[in-house]
C-alpha cells in the first residue's frame, strides 16, 4: 500500500470515529434510561431535536448563547417531570414492550410539538466551537471533531464520576440493579426516574448542540438518531463504555464500508450497514459486546 493510501485510510477511520462519537452521545441517553428504569426509550432521538430547536431559535432571536442553553436545559428537565407523571407512572409494572411502544408515542408527540412551537426548517447553529482544520503530520483532521471528541470524553467522565461517587449516583445504580430492593431500602423510585430522564434530556441537549453545529438543526436529526440503535445493540443496553465503543465501531465501520465497499456494490451503504452489523453480532452474542448476560427463568 502506498503511503498516501495509508494516510487516506487513517483519515477515513478518524472521520468515521468522529461520526461515531455523535452516535455514542445519543446512545448514552438510551443506556442511562434503560439502566435505571428498564425502559427502552425510543424517544431519545426526538429528545435531541426537542432540545436543540429551542437553543437555535432562541439564539436567532438574540438571546445570549448561555441563556439559550440554560433555557433548553430547563425545558428538558420539565419534560422529564411531565413524562414521569403522564407516561411512566400510569404504566408502572407494565411489560417492557408496552413501555417501548409508549415511548414511540412520546417520539411522535415530541416531534410534532417541537416543530409546531419552534418551526420546521433547517436552522444553522453556531456557538463558537473552533472549526479550523489541523494537520497531524500528513493527516488532515477537522478541529471541530477534536473539540467534540474532547467534550464527549469529558461528558462520559463526568457521568461516570456522578454514578460512582455521589449519593444520587449510588441510588441510581441501586435502582438499576433491582427496583424492588431499592424501593424497600427507601429509595423513591419516582424521583429517581425524574432524575434519570433529566440527565438523559441533558445528554440529548449536548448531542443536539454538537449535531446541530455540524449538520444544522432539522427534523432529519431524528432519523440519524435511529443509528444509535445498532450502536446500543453492539455495546449492550446496560453498558456506558459499551455505548461509546459501539458508537466508534459503527462510525468507523460504516465510513470504511462506504468508501471501500460502496464503489463495488453501489453507494448508500451507510443507511443499513450498522443495522446489519448489529444483527450479525446479535446472532452470536445476544446481549451485545458488553451487556450483562441475560438469565431467563420461568
Amino acid at each position: 500500500m502506498e503511503l498516501q493510501d495509508l494516510y487516506f485510510l487513517i483519515e477515513v477511520i478518524i472521520g468515521g470515529l468522529m461520526a461515531g462519537v455523535l452516535y455514542s452521545l445519543v446512545a448514552l441517553g438510551f443506556v442511562l434510561i434503560f439502566k435505571a428504569s428498564g425502559v427502552f426509550n425510543f424517544a431519545q432521538g426526538a429528545m435531541v431535536l426537542f432540545a436543540a430547536l429551542p437553543v437555535v431559535r432562541l439564539i436567532e432571536w438574540g438571546v445570549p448563547v448561555w441563556a439559550a442553553i440554560a433555557a433548553a436545559a430547563a425545558i428538558m428537565i420539565g419534560l422529564a417531570f411531565v413524562i414521569e407523571r403522564t407516561v411512566l407512572r400510569p404504566l408502572v409494572n407494565q411489560e417492557g414492550i408496552i413501555l417501548f411502544m409508549a415511548t414511540l408515542g412520546v417520539t411522535f408527540l415530541l416531534e410534532g410539538l417541537a416543530q409546531q412551537i419552534w418551526g420546521s426548517e433547517v436552522y444553522r447553529l453556531d456557538i463558537g466551537i473552533p472549526t479550523d482544520p489541523l494537520f497531524l503530520g500528513e493527516i488532515l483532521v477537522n478541529g471541530f471533531d477534536i473539540s467534540v471528541a474532547v467534550a464527549a470524553g469529558l461528558l462520559v467522565a463526568a457521568l461516570i464520576a456522578f454514578f460512582q461517587t455521589t449519593k444520587v449516583g449510588r441510588a441510581l445504580r441501586a435502582v438499576a440493579d433491582d427496583h424492588q430492593a431499592a424501593q424497600s431500602v427507601g429509595i423513591p423510585l419516582n424521583h429517581i426516574w425524574i432524575i434519570v430522564w433529566s440527565i438523559a434530556g441533558l445528554v440529548a441537549l449536548i448531542a443536539g448542540i454538537v449535531w446541530g453545529s455540524k449538520l444544522g438543526v432539522q427534523f432529519a436529526m431524528t432519523f440519524v438518531a435511529l443509528k444509535a440503535l445498532p450502536v446500543l445493540i453492539l455495546g449492550g443496553f446496560t453498558s456506558i463504555p459499551g455505548a461509546i465503543v459501539g458508537g466508534l465501531i459503527v462510525g468507523a465501520g460504516e465510513k470504511l464500508s462506504e468508501v471501500y465497499l460502496g464503489p463495488i456494490i453501489g453507494g448508500g451503504l451507510e443507511n443499513w450497514f450498522a443495522y446489519m452489523l448489529a444483527m450479525v453480532v446479535l446472532l452470536f452474542r445476544p446481549q451485545g459486546l458488553f451487556g450483562e448476560k441475560i438469565i431467563e427463568r420461568v
Binding site: A102, L109, L226, G266, W272
Partner: protein, 354 residues
C-alpha cells in the same frame, strides 16, 4: 334484548367451534358483507373509493399480517414496510417479465417471496427478543429500502427509480375503475381475513400465543420455538407481501421505494396498537382510524372556519398519533377492538344491568 345467546344451544362440536357462535353475530357479519359488496358499490363516490375504502382495506391486510406477528406471537417488528416492498417489487418483476401470468398468481408469488424474506430476517428472533428484535427488524427495513433503490434490475432500469403498471385484468375481467378495484380487493381481503381468523383459532395460533405469553414456558410444554416463531414470520410477511403488491398495483399504480419506507412500518404498528393487539377485527378498525385522522384534520377545521396551514396539520397529526398511542396503552391496552367487545357485553345485559 336483541343481542343475547339465550336459547341458542350448541348441539354439535362444529356448532361449538364456529367462528361466530351467536346467531346475531352471523347476521351482523352477513349484513356487513352485503353492505360492503353490494350497497357500497351502488352508492360510493370516486373520492370515497380512492381516498378511504381501497387504502384502508389494503392496509388492514398488512395490519393483520403485523398483528399475527406482534399481537399473536409477541415479536415486535418495525420492518413491515420492507416486507410490503418485497411483495410489491416481486409482483412488479413477475408482471413485466412473465406478462401472461394471472394476476392472482402474481399476488400469491409476491406473498410467497415476502414470506421467504421474512423468514430469513426472522432467524435472529430465535436468539433475541423484545427491543433487540425490534432493532433487528429495522435492519430488514433499511436493507430492503436500499435494495429496491439501488439494484437497477429490480426496478427494471427505470431512470427515475419509480415504476408503474398498466391497466390490469383478472381472467379477462378488467380491474381498472375504482369500483372494480374495490371489489377485487374486498374479495381478497375478506378471504385472507377469514384464513387469518381461522389460523389464530387453530393449534398454530395457540402455539403463537403461548410463545407470546412466555416463550420458555411454552418451550417446556412442547411447543417448538423455531417452527412457531418462523411460521409467524412467514405468515405475517405473506400478508404484508400480498398487501404490498395490492398497494402498489391497485392503489398507487406507480411508485418508488419511498412508498414503503420506515414511516409505513410505524403507521402499521400504530394501527394495531390503536385497533387492538391480537385482534383481527382490530386490524381493520385501526387501519380505518389511522387513515381517517389525517382526512378529518384536513377537512373539519376549514369547515368550522379555523384555517390551518399544511405544516400545522402535519404536526398536529404527529401529536395526535403520539398522544393517542400513549392514551390507548394506558387506558385501553387492547385497543378499539376491546371497546367493541365491552359494548357487546353491555348489550347482552341491556336493558337489565344485572
Amino acid at each position: 334484548m336483541l343481542y343475547r345467546e339465550a336459547g341458542q344451544f350448541k348441539a354439535s362440536y362444529a356448532a361449538d367451534q364456529a367462528i361466530f357462535p351467536i346467531a346475531q353475530d352471523r347476521v351482523l357479519m352477513a349484513i356487513l358483507l352485503v353492505v360492503a359488496a353490494v350497497v357500497v358499490p351502488l352508492t360510493a363516490t370516486q373520492y370515497l373509493y380512492t381516498a378511504i375504502l381501497i387504502p384502508s382495506l389494503i392496509l388492514a391486510l398488512a395490519a393483520i399480517g403485523l398483528n399475527i406477528l406482534t399481537g399473536y406471537c409477541g415479536q415486535v417488528s418495525l420492518g413491515t414496510g420492507g416486507f410490503m416492498a418485497v411483495g410489491a417489487y416481486t409482483a412488479y418483476n413477475l408482471f413485466i417479465r412473465v406478462p401472461e401470468l394471472n394476476l392472482l398468481l402474481v399476488l400469491l408469488a409476491a406473498g410467497a417471496m415476502a414470506a421467504l424474506v421474512g423468514v430469513i430476517f426472522g432467524i435472529p428472533s430465535l436468539r433475541i427478543k423484545g427491543f433487540y428484535l425490534a432493532v433487528a427488524t429495522l435492519a430488514a427495513q433499511f436493507f430492503l429500502d436500499w435494495v429496491f433503490a439501488r439494484v437497477p434490475w429490480l426496478y427494471n432500469y427505470s431512470p427515475s427509480g419509480s415504476v408503474g403498471v398498466p391497466d390490469l385484468y383478472v381472467f379477462g375481467f378488467p380491474v381498472i375503475t375504482p369500483t372494480q378495484r374495490y371489489l377485487f380487493i374486498l374479495a381478497i381481503v375478506a378471504l385472507m381475513a377469514l384464513v387469518a381468523k381461522n389460523l389464530v383459532r387453530s393449534s398454530v395460533g395457540r402455539a403463537w400465543m403461548a410463545i407470546r405469553d412466555m416463550d420458555i414456558a411454552a418451550e417446556i410444554i412442547g411447543i417448538r420455538p423455531l417452527q412457531t416463531k418462523l411460521s409467524a414470520f412467514a405468515v405475517s410477511s405473506f400478508y404484508a407481501g400480498v398487501s404490498g403488491a395490492l398497494w402498489a398495483f391497485l392503489h398507487l399504480k406507480s411508485w418508488e421505494p419511498a412508498a414503503f419506507d420506515i414511516n409505513r412500518s410505524f403507521s402499521l404498528l400504530f394501527m394495531i396498537i390503536i385497533g387492538g393487539l391480537g385482534s383481527i377485527l382490530g386490524s381493520f378498525i385501526g387501519a380505518a382510524f389511522i387513515l381517517l385522522v389525517p382526512i378529518f384534520l384536513n377537512q373539519v377545521p376549514p369547515a368550522l372556519g379555523i384555517p390551518l396551514s399544511t405544516a400545522t396539520i402535519s404536526h398536529l397529526e404527529f401529536m395526535i398519533f403520539g398522544a393517542l398511542i400513549i392514551f390507548f396503552l394506558i387506558v385501553e391496552p387492547h385497543g378499539l377492538a376491546r371497546l367493541w367487545q365491552i359494548g357487546k357485553e353491555k348489550l347482552r345485559l341491556w336493558p337489565f344491568p344485572h
